[in-house]
């Protein structure tokens, strides 16, 4: 997976989009590497949907360029991209299988191929028995599954998923996550737009945070976390901890009888090795690597940006 990462699937360069007086995207540049999951984050109204629509050739940028697999966005690139919009939409009075086939055909898939793939995916999502049902007879969660399946049938190399987990119960959310990771392992590139920060931490390789039409923070998810410099270990234990002293890897920032707080200085610090050592000498109740959560990073960045702009 990592060895593919240097090949950009999407290159957005200095893109601008304006609606009347409203500047939805202002000079955005970003790169999405092949075979990665890319988190597209930002508060409501930041311009994420506008950017996604431009990647999908629904909107045409007023300035700048967007290329997909090295080609400028066009009718032809549309067939390689899958799009799951945040606001889901299916024909209420049409049957599940018919709709799936139609959406696949619109992406250039032969009807018979579309039918076969749709049936396979319905089985994978434990939904084969709905094929002949109308959308209006399905629950919201069921319809969400159908919508997700509809994005997969043209075997896209790039998937843009806007809040894919909304409307799913935990079991189905887990199934969906599994499928997304499976797609990634097949070498597909996935853009995940979400407000759920722990999903970003769990799933994304890279990310871009957009605020007020501008990219204010982007890069590798791990590195971004580290760059916030709050890598800290919280430790609670029973036993003699006098062997733990300041060294090149960490510093003790707080110490009580059964509690220690360590700040990691060395970026190559191996927390697993350290925990093994602790386990041999102490009874460890709690060992927690406290990085700034993405929730915090999101809030700090957006607020900081607001101060800068304001």
């Amino acid at each position: 997976m990592q060895n593919q990462s240097n090949v950009p699937v999407i290159v957005v360069e200095n893109v601008k989009k304006q609606f009347g007086d409203y500047l939805a995207n202002n000079d955005i540049s970003l790169k999405v590497n092949s075979g990665t999951i890319f988190g597209l984050l930002g508060p409501n109204g930041a311009g994420k949907t506008t950017l996604i629509r431009m990647i999908n050739n629904i909107y045409i940028p007023d300035g700048g360029t967007i290329t997909i697999f090295g080609k400028p966005v066009s009718d032809d690139t549309q067939n390689q991209v899958a799009y799951l919009p945040e606001e889901r939409g299916l024909y209420k009075k049409q049957k599940v299988l018919d709709q799936l086939i139609y959406f696949a055909q619109l992406k250039g898939v032969e009807k018979s191929v579309a039918k076969k793939r749709a049936e396979q995916w319905l089985i994978r999502f434990d939904a084969a028995s709905w094929a002949g049902k109308k959308i209006q007879d399905l629950s919201k969660g069921m319809a969400q599954k159908v919508q997700f399946i509809s994005t997969l049938l043209h075997d896209p190399k790039l998937l843009i998923l806007d809040e894919p987990f909304s409307g799913f119960d935990p079991i189905n959310a887990e199934l969906l996550k599994e499928v997304i990771l499976e797609l990634k392992s097949q070498g597909k590139t996935i853009i995940l737009s979400t407000h759920v920060m722990h999903q970003v931490e769990q799933m994304c390789d890279d990310m871009c945070l957009i605020n007020k039409g501008k990219a204010i923070l982007q890069g590798n998810v791990r590195e971004i976390k580290k760059s916030f410099g709050r890598n800290t270990i919280l430790l609670e234990f029973e036993g003699d901890a006098s062997f733990i002293v300041d060294n090149q890897q960490f510093k003790i920032v707080n110490q009580t009888a059964h509690r220690l707080e360590l700040k990691i200085i060395d970026s190559n610090f191996d927390s697993k090795l350290f925990l093994n050592e602790l386990n041999q000498k102490l009874t460890v109740f709690k060992f927690e690597l406290v990085e700034p959560s993405f929730h915090e990073i999101f809030i700090q960045s957006v607020k900081g940006n607001e101060v800068e702009v304001g």
Binding site: I58, D76, Q78, P85, E87, K107, G108
Partner: protein, 432 residues
Amino acid sequence: MGKYNKINTIISHEYISKVKTKGFLIGTVLGPLGLVALLGIIVYISMSFGETSKKLAVVDNEGSIYTQLIKKDSTLYYKSEKSVDALKKELQEEKIDGYVIIPEDILDKGKASVFTGGGGGLGLISSLEDNLTSIVRVKRLERIGTDSSVIDLIRQQVTIETNKITETGETEKDDTKAMAYLGYGLGFAMYFLVFIYGSFVSRGVIEEKSNRIIEVLASSAKPFEIMMGKVIGIGLVGLTQIIFWLLLGFALLTLLGPLIFGNPESIKTMTEMAEAQGGGMASQSQGLSIPGVDLTLILGFLFYFILGYFTYATFFAGVGAAVDNEQDAAQLQLPITLPIILAIMITPQIMNNPDSTLAIVMSIIPLTSPLIMIVRIAATNVPIIEIVASIVALVGFFFFAVWVSAKIYRIGILMTGKKPKFSDLLKWIKSA
């Protein structure tokens, strides 16, 4: 994979998903029945316009007139035994509509009086006059001992056979009356079909917009393809229905011809004519007999339906894209729906006078022309130049509709929230 394929996919999806519905089946079967029923009502109303719903009491001092009068129209006249004073009182109290006094010497003087609460309409007076005149005429002849065969001769009415001279100089039977009614029927059918199928388009566009399906569609095809695919697909559904009706009509006409059309009188007439001419489909101007429906009329209808539908449906698609619900759509559609509503309203006048300036102008102006021209083609011999002018204007207007609607559609389809005003639409049209 090309563009051509995508619009084809959209067309066939629109077509198949519409044709598969129960609504289509029901509409196809019940449509003609509904139209026939509606036309029946209209014809009935227009024919019974001269008649009155009033009833007149007959005081017959002569003694032999009232039986004849009641025989002529038992819904209008009834015999009264009451005195004139009693009738006068009842009239004042509005218990009766009026009364007729037939004097003893009506055969000599030829005068009678009618009393009503005022008005009663010209129709009432003229039918009373006609009825009494013919009764008195026969009575007078009987009084001087005229032979009954002579009286029968006098009683016979004259029927007018209308003829037209064709361009090649031949004389043909002119089915003016029947053709005018047929034109009216076709005009009505045109009105309903254009409206029904046009509103299918705007409803479909609104559904895709309000259910957010459009976002998925727009990520797969061009807005123009999505819009025109829908317009064409639904148009083909309409054509399927019309062609089915034509075939059905043709089959019925061939098999059951005389039995379905018109009243017993025309059947009798036709049977007589058929006998006289040694069989074959005869058409005659008396009553509503079967007119010789020619191919020009059928082709004209199909042609004007296609052009009319496409123009209206394209506008409807554009307007549908601008709004979030059908109520708002109806409002914005008003400027384009008014002309065709106006057209259907003045169709009776066009039918009566298909060569008037009004008729000619309205059959050339786009938006009214599909309806008015088909009425005229049925009712009269429309000069080729007028047909050409109307087609050129309509085709030109259709392209204008596509141009305008494509612009509104492209922007409107992804706009949600506040309802756009006309000024907004104009802005969208002007934007590149």
